[in-house]
Point group: D2
Chain length 345, copies 4
Amino acid sequence: MKAAVIGGTGYSAIELIRILHHHPYVELETVVSHSKTGNELQDIYPHLTSIMQTPLTGLDVEEICHTAEVVFFATPSGISKDLLPGFLNKGVTCIDLSGDFRLKSRESYEKWYHHEAAEESYLNQAVYGLSEIYSEQIRKSSFISNPGCYPTATLLALLPAVQKGLLNNQSIIIDAKSGVSGAGRGLSLGTHYGEINENLRAYKLGAHQHIPEIEQILQHESGNPVTISFSTHLVPMTRGIMCTIYADMNSFKTTKEMIELYEAYFEKHPFVRIRKEGTLPSTKGVYGSNYCDIGFYADERTGRLVIVSVIDNLVKGASGQAVQNLNILKGWDETSGLLHVPMYP
Amino acid sequence: MKAAVIGGTGYSAIELIRILHHHPYVELETVVSHSKTGNELQDIYPHLTSIMQTPLTGLDVEEICHTAEVVFFATPSGISKDLLPGFLNKGVTCIDLSGDFRLKSRESYEKWYHHEAAEESYLNQAVYGLSEIYSEQIRKSSFISNPGCYPTATLLALLPAVQKGLLNNQSIIIDAKSGVSGAGRGLSLGTHYGEINENLRAYKLGAHQHIPEIEQILQHESGNPVTISFSTHLVPMTRGIMCTIYADMNSFKTTKEMIELYEAYFEKHPFVRIRKEGTLPSTKGVYGSNYCDIGFYADERTGRLVIVSVIDNLVKGASGQAVQNLNILKGWDETSGLLHVPMYP
Amino acid sequence: MKAAVIGGTGYSAIELIRILHHHPYVELETVVSHSKTGNELQDIYPHLTSIMQTPLTGLDVEEICHTAEVVFFATPSGISKDLLPGFLNKGVTCIDLSGDFRLKSRESYEKWYHHEAAEESYLNQAVYGLSEIYSEQIRKSSFISNPGCYPTATLLALLPAVQKGLLNNQSIIIDAKSGVSGAGRGLSLGTHYGEINENLRAYKLGAHQHIPEIEQILQHESGNPVTISFSTHLVPMTRGIMCTIYADMNSFKTTKEMIELYEAYFEKHPFVRIRKEGTLPSTKGVYGSNYCDIGFYADERTGRLVIVSVIDNLVKGASGQAVQNLNILKGWDETSGLLHVPMYP
Amino acid sequence: MKAAVIGGTGYSAIELIRILHHHPYVELETVVSHSKTGNELQDIYPHLTSIMQTPLTGLDVEEICHTAEVVFFATPSGISKDLLPGFLNKGVTCIDLSGDFRLKSRESYEKWYHHEAAEESYLNQAVYGLSEIYSEQIRKSSFISNPGCYPTATLLALLPAVQKGLLNNQSIIIDAKSGVSGAGRGLSLGTHYGEINENLRAYKLGAHQHIPEIEQILQHESGNPVTISFSTHLVPMTRGIMCTIYADMNSFKTTKEMIELYEAYFEKHPFVRIRKEGTLPSTKGVYGSNYCDIGFYADERTGRLVIVSVIDNLVKGASGQAVQNLNILKGWDETSGLLHVPMYP
């Protein structure tokens, strides 16, 4: 199966390219880069020398539709909403890694993203690609809106409990921490080495565009309105997201009970790993891999549940999950091309 | 004024020594190190070469009482509880940086620290050295129990609101993040470079010994029982603590109102700096300095207040505050020897 | 083919286990750990949860010889010299990642390693497993002494020029820099996070045990005595080695000429990549992979050649090359199980 | 004494401002920033909140000449060559931290800096401010060209031996490593966190503009032409430079002899510290301070001397030395305002 990647020189794209390189059923045919057209991938990313000589091309929709069966959009927000329909309408499978089709409400998108939203008909078609939760819908779709990195870590950690009504939905607080690669390869003072190294920074409190994405799914799955507190922090490391989640339990369950519940829930989902009682996940435990590790602490003193969830933001938080969705959609083994052992140390 | 430091080769001690070196009124006379007796400081810490030739000595209580007017205890927990009374009883001013005299309840100490507690009479004498809050008591005391690093960052951020009854005390959640120097210089897998670099780790959930310390003060200041959620995370950096604090407001106040309230509260306290609306603190903003920077986000959507508080764990979180307490106790300017500009970048 | 790893909980071992997990022809049957017998791998290394349930066993030579066709020794120096002969004599293929069989001279080993050396007969049997240079000998052997990390980066960079007599052998200076994982998982102040982060340290000048290893090969390949300057530095990062090598050229060759010469030399060796003129390698370009990237600068001003060579110390510098050697020895494709794309960023 | 800083928002400037803040004899009156005119320093650098309310102003030569007795130029190369004469001619003491007046040869400047050079008459007036070596000339001057960071670390390490003719000048090789702050606060892919963290990079081999600066001084002090090999590497840390220097000795001296020679040479220079035999400096040993630590290894096997020299690139490598030069020039104690204890850890 031939694939194209649009937006080919960002960090998500390059991670997608790394994963697809070893995929048993996919061949990467075209890499489109607006800013680097005419170069080869290895000129921009020398680590790919002798591995890929792929030229970076300009966007030729006709040509791509002709050669590719699936197109991944690894573009900044505001691009794929206009671009993707042209591919979709020609029967090409589309997987969008940007936020353009995640929010069902145009109003909400425009409030949080500060762009014009995509057309409603396309918003309605897009299946939210949280692989473990929506595999049924993904299987039947040819248009996936891949979840954001924070929502992936958050929702996998919350949904089993929320679906069962175990938590007070209005009490949910998510303290999220991310490595710097989540901010992409674009230059900014906020990703300048001297500003970030040996520094820990809180940012975008109450303003992060992943808030409505998380709330939309929590509301849909609980059937009730949910308003979350969600804070983001930039950690001096390249990869990794950790979400520490706090919620009041409607009736107290022990750590052990929560673990059993989650183990059962994710029994057939190899990429979610539940940590043993008394241990907690760390981001390095999933480094470079598609795993999401989740640990629990049910606090008898406060009656609160604390869930700690980690992913590699570029893999399960972006490109790995995109490939996982393609696997599901195509009926391949969900883990095809994704069984990297986390790199440690 | 002559000073002695006991426990002289840990990170807090060495930071204390750095600060005292430039203190206008204090002369460091004796550095006691159990494990390194017979060496010079500069053998253990080559960065002190040509700055200090201080020999590391064994413990000689008589001799120290004879020469020193103030003794700092930078010992691991469980040491000063036995050692300190011997100095105190001879009229020496004692400042304890360990946790041995922070908890008024012996039972609580023994539950959280897993040692036998200090004698009740000494627990009762010790003044809790949160400088900005208890300066009155510090001024009259000669025995200070210096606060823990996390409690310092947490309590400065919470007390103005808690004292005024603005928060639902049972809703307080503290998501705390620390650099690795907080774990000291002792070797452990948890401070081994390969395990920590490019990694973010949650640890000791619900079990950190700073929990009862924070609750004791919050209860005392609010007059009501307070049970907190408190989670700790290890961040791949050397210095810095950030506490992100969540609490329901009893009646909503805006970010601006909170800022004004805190600015007024800390008006005469130069080491607490309130960040402007729309900005949040980062640990590097206080690097190597005695400042505590506090920022606010009052979330209209949830009715919750988010407070972000940062300190350098080795300075305001340990040795800097110890010196600040000495300054207060002696009636010197509170900032003597402590006006280091934060090091940036 | 069944394999055993002895010394199974060090960083080299765990990297070997990661690589073998995806190897098409090898099945890891036994992992021996002296210190962790009775645990499972995933207890010690949680990132392996659900990937490997391998129990860590004590050493049972009989049993291993019965089940394994190849044994990897990832033990500290001084262990395999006594242990390995027992396996070798029973016809098991042995690949030693320690330094015990690298030096042909017992005297030299004892001088640099401060242990008693292995028996001469075994030293004579061991083939030095620098894969690209000694593939002929490796192919015929069943006992490989895997090169050190620094020697791998240095010798691949030097041998083509040295074999052709292009350099003044007495002028060779190697300024080597390594990430911290090279020092292993054992605790020491020199690998304590607070001492290493945001620090650059020179160590073991003129005393590193890789000096005689490099000289032995350079002498053998040049036919003349070679004495090198070799300095090592610890860089605040986990993985990666860079050797910056300086040598006087016997007659000046341009950067372009050197590149052409090396490209021809390594034409059939996919793991050595020669950088284009005007570009230089960086350690991240080979992160997590078995590549060795080499760049050149021929300095007309000084008549000196500068070669910059990088590897991932745990892969090409240890476990990856060990697997490459097994591939060669067994007649499999040299790259089997080793075509990881470097992880970037 | 009143001072002005031009180029006030770069990392060198901000470090200069930190140092001047505690200087006993200098008051910082004016900070000129082209790009940030109209802001306050604390808006750009929040760590200065409550410490400095200094407004950033546009350039008004008249006004500055009226108020300031000394002007520091912390501008990018190519600026002060045009700007500085206007101040100098009005009798203002000028200290230039850029490279504009370091090279006496206009031709050389234009070759290495790719700008037009300053006027010859000003090049001739400028005194090269390597404080320990040229204090006599500095004392009599009012126009100092402050040395580059690499040249400072290199020349302090080499000059005592070169002046005595102990080294083969044509054999000198300098392998230099720097933290990232040396590249300033300007955005570039080469200072983007994701590209630098967990990476070690060689750059600008044979092309660094500090090469002619080092050679000019070595030639001047030895009386003979000197051509050096000089390689630069970017290390994933914020502050610190290490130069590892190799040179053939004309007649062999032991490590001990070299140490004695250097200790005598720098006896009256408190900022140069010679490490004991068997120990080597690390960058963290001088972190945030004006010290230059130098260690030696005289290699009997090769007859070569290895010198390891470290500085904090922003202090002794830039702003600290600028203040040291001002102290010398004004006849104040050389260490005024500069006795910061290195920050450790």
